[in-house]
Symmetry: C2
Subunit: 235 residues, 2 copies
DNA sequence: AAAATTGGCTTGTACGTACAAGTTGTGTAT
DNA sequence: ATACACAACTTGTACGTACAAGCCAATTTT
């Protein structure tokens, strides 16, 4: 079964956006131009653009055109009021451990599948803060199988997900979280500069991606005293 | 400016679903039947069905038809692994305070607008549990303006949101949350049957609805020891 | 009796056309 | 110089047609 025409067009346009051929903020060729360029009807072009719209790659402006959007940082819980967007002032990120091989942890609330556990695990750890206040300790695990050469490359814009998109053409398509309120333990408390025993918010996440072999597992420990975790959801 | 044709059809079908004329699990009339019934083309019918699909009222089955879906309980954070779905076993809900008039609280993290504060406030409070374990204390505030006669009616299926939909044709269209980890205080601790000073998860929510005059403000206090709060997000 | 075919339904994709509606720059009239 | 009208673009809506693809039950063939 051959791929559908609108799917093909969607894929072509999507990868051009991901690779930066169509830059963020610029307009795509008009629907009629796309029609003649790919020898298809406007119905089909619009179907493809609809998909791009749904996935958040473009926004349409009546009478003007389709503009390439800054893709939402796909952080699930933190989608809209994300870490950096929610906070005014100087946001900073420190690597406590650079990406490196490790063993899969046994105590993740959302457990990886058997296929994943059979592959090599890559881990990194960051501390994110606002000014002098550390607000979030972040631990990440994922299978190195889908990301050849990951240890040797730099993070695009310092962002893990932007790197996935621009270097590997992989997008996050879903996420799943579990939230718990805990006492800060003797390891996390000093890192977050709070007293041991303070209440902290633990977020366990699994991100599913467009690559079937790649899920990202995260554990976040948040000090919500000054900066609560914000979230928004549009139905 | 007259309403668009596909919007009209969408609204008609939607209200028939909400009012139960088309029952959950049954199939809508076929696209061709809708065409001739409303004297429109299939393009327009499909556009209307697309909207219903997007809003989660139906699911389409290739070769069979469009089936009316059990509408997702629009609880934002709790969308998929919602309170009742996430938990097997006997879920129970106890009203600590039935809906009644009250003054707007001053300390909500997400503040109501001035127009709302000028109207009468309705409040109710519930404790939700699994078996013997209380897991969530829930407080809700909203303006009585949009919901005439609310104090006199029963909750459909015991659900606040189902009541909104079936009795007032109002749907939740967006939600916004703030999450904090706190110590349980002397009021919430005994209700949740935990020690004062235990870490609990506080969720402050605002639900926006299809009625511009109605937002629902909630404060949830969750004991996450046994049952963490689950959430899922599809991009 | 079981298996395969057929026909009639459904939704999915794609073609083509026409005009409405929004945006913007250009040129004309004031 | 300013205001207005218009033309030329854009996307949005709606028409109509054709066939592909999936589902299902009745019929035919094996």
């Amino acid at each position: 079964m051959p791929e559908k025409r609108y799917q093909q067009i969607f894929t072509i346009l999507k990868s051009r956006i991901q690779q930066g051929t169509y830059r963020v903020g610029s307009y795509l060729p008009s629907e009629n131009e796309l029609c003649s360029h790919y020898s298809i009807t406007r119905t089909t072009v619009r179907r493809a653009l609809d998909e791009l719209l749904k996935e958040g790659f473009i926004e349409k402006e009546h009478g003007k055109g389709s503009r390439v959007k800054e893709r939402r940082q796909s952080l699930g819980l933190l989608t809209v009021k994300g870490f950096s967007e929610a906070v005014t002032g100087d946001v900073n990120t420190v690597f406590l451990q650079m990406p490196q091989h490790t063993a899969w942890p046994a105590d993740l609330p959302i457990q990886p599948g058997k296929e994943e556990l059979a592959t090599e695990c890559i881990y990194f750890e960051r501390l994110r803060g606002v000014g002098e206040i550390p607000v979030m300790l972040e631990r990440n695990w994922f299978s190195g199988k889908a990301l050849k050469g990951f240890l040797d490359i730099d993070f695009a814009d310092g962002s893990f997900f932007k790197t996935l998109s621009s270097k590997y053409l992989i997008e996050v398509i879903a996420s799943e979280q579990e939230l718990r309120a805990l006492y800060a333990d003797e390891i996390t408390a000093p890192l977050l500069k709070i007293r041991e025993g303070s209440p902290i918010l633990q977020i366990s996440i699994r991100f599913s991606t467009s690559n079937r072999n790649l899920n990202i597992y995260g554990q976040l420990y948040c000090n919500t005293d000054t900066y609560p975790i914000g979230n928004m959801y549009r139905h």
